[in-house]
Amino acid sequence: MSNDKIKVAVIGTGNIGTDLCERLLKDPKFDVVAFVGRRSTSSGLTRMHGRVPNLLDSGIESLEPLWPYLDGVFDATSATAHAEHWAIVQKHKKWIIDLTPSRIGKPLVPVLIDNSPSMKISTDYVANYSMVTCGGQSSAALIYAITKHAKSVEEVEISSSIASLSAGPATRNNIDEYIDSTENMATLLTGCSAVKSILVLNPAEPPVMMRTTVHVRAANFDLVQILQESRDLVAKVKSYVPGYDLVVEPHVAGSGQISATVKVLGSGYYLPEYSGNLDIINAAAVETATQHVHLSRLNHERITT
């Protein structure tokens, strides 16, 4: 199997894009070919001088000569720009990881790739994966573990609290869309339509770490299995999000109800540690790209050998 590095471009030089670029530069599996912004003086682009070979400042158009050298791209721009980016990426037959709230791509939470049929890696090389939301990424393992060992799931609730400082203008402006996307993922995962997502911003100093609580109501549960499955899946998330921890284990929280809480501490590549909400999205993006390329290379070998 090919051990070539995965050659990528990161589009968007804001906080998320910059953190992602730092993360990919430190990951031996990846080769960051280009970092793409809209202003040559942006702090993100300036920071990558001498570290990324192609620092481009005219948006996705400036990638034109580089497409033959790329496997895929990460999009950390905006929901509106993403629609346009996806069209171009398809034309060049590449994959794209969407970190915007556009909801165009297939929602993917990497920890569940081998578990949930709703979270499979695409068999087409040309693919678009949506990283959902921080609430979605942090809750999916618990939702899956609890509902897998429950009968007749009646309600699923996800509540997250994040540090105010970690919520930028995009999060604040799209709080309804955040709720919608998170709820859609929970429905996709469980088939349950009675889902609710809540987001709370906490301004305390020092900033709080992100916490997500999952609450499930169902006809009955196997708590022992849920505990085991949750611990296993949390450990699996931890392999790509080192600051992910189960702080309140699944417990009975009223009749027919199970609840559990995770905490997410960021890795601090570029963003501060309290930005666990942003960290988990970026970590998921890198893991998704890794898994997608791995599968397509396996398939390719199967065809060619």
Partner: protein, 330 residues
């Protein structure tokens, strides 16, 4: 003239553990309609769209409560509270418009007003009356308070309401804050008291004396934690201050209804409420604090203090368990 804003059927729903029914709403609104109160707010304690495991499941859904109120309020305005992060425009606010709500109050923690921009702008764009609510308004300095209030006004709120969600103010704090807002923002100022320190009514009167024009209260003080400023007590005071104040009888009739219908839920100032108020912790945490302190064998006092230290905000109910667990393991 003061607009008296009755939160019995919303904040009171916290005290009732969200067990409010359309029948009670109907009966209450029939008296309220005759009382001279300006508006009646209805819904889950944390506003429409907030019924959840996190902050409490409501016995009756928003729509049936709002419909019951609407059918019985003609002169009196029907109002709702909504918190971005819980309620969304599509799922909760649009159906409330359709249910005939007259006043929308969009609330955020006092430092997080930018999360309400879309909701306030949407409502003012729809020509709906919209108020901006600053919850936990004690948890910011005066300059910050003014700038957050200006944002709300800028989005199109016709009033900014200061909520003393933790019941932390004494009358001079109210005077300073209401005054500053009156001078700095060009919209109406409202005040919403909680009675943790036993000065809810005095705080409401202080707001009136400093020219706030919308005053919240609830019958028998039915509300989160130690409850709100009792509306009937505010009216009695106001009658001695101004001529043309509403007469007392219907307010007393509403109190009597609350007193007889839900005696088990009547709030009062307690040692615990004084501690939470003084620590500046959200009053609505009281049921969880009581339950979890017992479950983990820690004292309520210690738990309140720790919640204050960690500066929890409304909506972080799930963290109380983690903190109680930490205290137990100390």
């Amino acid at each position: 003239m003061i607009s008296f804003y009755d939160v019995t059927l919303r904040d009171g729903n916290h005290a009732m553990r969200h067990s409010l029914t359309p029948e009670f709403v109907r009966e209450y609104c029939q008296i309220a309609e005759q009382s001279g109160v300006w508006a009646v707010e209805v819904g889950h304690g944390n506003g429409i769209g907030a019924s959840s495991f996190l902050v409490g499941k409501a016995k009756s859904d928003d729509y049936s409560l709002l419909t019951a109120a609407r059918e019985n309020l003609k002169k009196v305005k029907l109002a709702v509270h909504a918190i971005p992060g819980f309620a969304t425009i599509k799922r909760d606010i649009i159906p409330a418009i359709k249910a005939g709500v007259d006043i929308f109050r969009i609330g955020t923690h006092v430092t997080e007003v930018t999360t309400a921009q879309k909701h306030v702008e949407y409502l003012s764009g729809q020509d709906q009356m919209v108020h901006g609510v600053l919850m936990m308004s004690h948890a910011i300095d005066l300059k910050g308070l003014v700038s957050q209030a200006k944002l709300m006004a800028g989005y199109g709120a016709s009033a900014v309401v200061l909520m003393d969600s933790a019941g932390n103010y004494v009358p001079k704090d109210v005077a300073t804050r209401v005054n500053a807002l009156k001078q700095e923002i060009g919209v109406q100022v409202g005040f919403h008291a909680h009675n943790n320190l036993g000065v809810g009514v005095s705080n409401a009167i202080s707001a009136i004396e400093n020219n706030a024009t919308i005053i919240d209260g609830s019958s028998m003080g039915l509300g989160a934690g130690a409850g709100n400023a009792p509306l009937e007590s505010i009216i009695v005071n106001y009658r001695r201050m101004k001529s043309g104040a509403p007469s007392l009888d219907k307010f007393l009739e509403m109190s009597h209804l609350v007193e007889t219908k839900c005696p088990e839920y009547l709030p009062r100032t307690t040692s615990s409420s004084i501690q939470s108020g003084d620590a500046g912790v959200f009053s609505g945490f009281a049921p969880q604090v009581k339950q979890l302190a017992a479950e983990f064998g820690v004292s309520q006092e210690d738990l309140w203090q720790e919640l204050g230290k960690r500066r929890l905000v409304a909506g972080q109910e799930s963290m109380i368990r983690e903190i109680a667990q930490d205290l137990m393991n100390l």
